[in-house]
């Protein structure tokens, strides 16, 4: 019955006009009041309703109460702290979405086809044993450092550098106003870690390095400590990989004194590996300055 009433209201919304209904009755107003409250009436009908409200104090009081309640509901919901999204979740989700967006095609899907599985596995075995045989003949000092997945350290760092730059743009620069306003507190352990980054920079380069924020971020699905610092007007991100105890992506034989510098999307990235963790320094500083920061941090972290 009420559905029928609502549909009738719908028809009325289309049909009622100022010319047709010069004087609205209270009963008609009540039928239209919900749609009027939601501002969903035609202009002509609005005018008719408005004139009725001017003339009828009972309907005016009733409508004012309904409108006040509507505003009250909206305000009460908007001001509930539990209804606000957490910044941590927002950043985590952004990072995951970005990783997903720029991820390479799902080559793993090939394995779902049993007809392709045998040749692929055969090729992988040949590659693995062939590669192992070749590497055994190399001088370990001069050979490329090989990551467990088969990538060199350089290609490993380069690949993640691109994502670190994206994370710097999305997180450090994207939320810069929040970091600068200090509205998001830094947890105790993160504050200590940030000091470990800022202190050697202040000691060795300049005293004006300011910590904006420190938190965990996902880059390429790996957990990194993300320290955002500022020197003058320049914002710098330092990403330090958080490896689990005993877990190391690159073999310990890695040359830990090499720093790789690259330019990605207009930003400088200096990356290096220390004590099993990959470290990325991202900024819009000139290459020598960005590299200098990476050197200072590399020396500091190696101790």
């Amino acid at each position: 019955m009420l559905e029928a009433t609502a549909l009738a209201e719908g028809v009325r919304l289309q049909q009622v006009s100022y010319l047709e209904v010069k004087k609205m009755q209270c009963k008609e107003f009540r039928e239209l009041s919900e749609a009027y409250l939601s501002d969903q009436l035609l202009v002509e009908t609005n005018l008719t309703v408005y004139r009725h409200l001017e003339a009828c104090s009972n309907c005016r009081a009733d409508f004012a109460a309904r409108r006040a309640l509507r505003g009250r509901i909206r305000r009460a919901v908007m001001e509930q702290p539990e209804m606000a999204i957490s910044p941590d979740f927002e950043m985590r989700l952004r990072s995951q979405l970005r990783d997903e967006a720029i991820r390479e095609p799902r080559w793993k899907g090939l394995f779902r086809n049993p007809r392709l599985l045998i040749p692929i596995m055969t090729a992988l075995l040949i590659t693995f044993f062939g590669g192992y045989a070749i590497l055994r003949n190399f001088d370990t000092e001069d050979a490329l450092i090989v990551v467990s997945s088969g990538r060199s350290l350089a290609s490993f760092l380069t690949e993640i550098s691109i994502k670190a730059v994206g994370q710097h743009k999305d997180c450090a620069l994207g939320y810069l106003d929040k970091w600068e306003s200090g509205s998001l507190p830094i947890s105790g352990p993160h504050a200590r870690d940030a000091e470990l980054v800022a202190l050697p920079l202040r000691t060795n380069i300049s005293n004006d390095f300011q910590i904006l924020h420190s938190h965990d971020c996902l880059v390429d699905g790996r957990k990194f400590l993300h320290v955002i610092i500022k020197q003058g007007e320049r914002v710098v991100s330092v990403f330090i990989e958080q490896t689990k105890d005993g877990e190391d992506i690159v073999e310990q034989a890695a040359k830990e004194d090499s720093i790789i510098c690259e330019k990605e999307n207009g930003l400088q990235v200096a990356s290096f590996r220390v004590k099993g963790s990959a470290v990325f320094v991202v900024s819009d500083l000139p290459e020598p300055e960005n590299l200098r920061m990476a050197r200072v941090l590399s020396d500091s972290f190696s101790v």
């Binding site: 919900e34 939601s38 606000a84 989700l93």
Partner: protein
């Protein structure tokens, strides 16, 4: 498909600029749909991943907020169906409405907590429409598209939902000792 090329960064940038600003809105509605922070976060996450996957179907510059909200409600229907918690509320509410003899007014002393509590007590079917229309300020047409129901049903549910809400708030007020007497007498 015309709005971005094969560049993944460009695609991400477009999605990020169009969709990410609506995360707080999605989360707020998800909290009403799930009543649980973890589930709300899961629902928002699933919505955003689904939105990104289907972003080629979205026409840039149109109503991205309503588009994402529609995806979220669809996913929520599936979630509820999975949990096997689908309930029919129309008929009992129809009877409830018929038993409400008068339209009580709401005293000013009602607190925000009481308003939220009253809104929580409104049956899901009606509350979804109140939240979308009165809190999130979607038009009837947008609410109809999001919930995949006719505009007439939106109007009907909104009418009933608001009425239940007013009734509940009046009861709250009476239980706290203010308001309601005059209306009761009038009824």
């Amino acid at each position: 498909m015309k709005w971005f090329g094969d560049d993944k960064e460009e695609k991400w940038r477009a999605f990020s600029e169009e969709a990410m600003p609506f995360l707080p809105d999605l989360f707020r509605v998800a909290m009403w749909l799930t009543r649980n922070k973890d589930e709300a976060e899961d629902l928002v996450q699933e919505t955003m991943f689904q939105g990104m996957k289907s972003f080629h179907r979205y026409e840039l510059g149109t109503n991205c907020r309503a588009w994402l909200m529609a995806i979220m409600h669809n996913l929520n229907y599936k979630r509820i169906a999975k949990l096997n918690r689908m309930t029919l509320v129309d008929d009992p509410e129809e009877k409830l409405m018929e038993t409400i003899p008068f339209e009580p007014s709401i005293p000013d002393q009602i607190t925000d907590e009481q308003v939220i509590s009253a809104l929580k007590s409104v049956p899901d079917t009606f509350r979804d429409v109140i939240v979308l229309s009165d809190v999130e300020e979607y038009s009837y047409k947008e609410v109809a598209a999001i919930l995949n129901i006719p505009i007439g049903t939106v109007m009907s549910r909104l009418y009933r939902g608001r009425r239940i809400l007013r009734q509940t708030l009046a009861e709250h007020a009476r239980s706290y000792g203010f308001g309601g007497g005059r209306e009761a007498a009038a009824g």
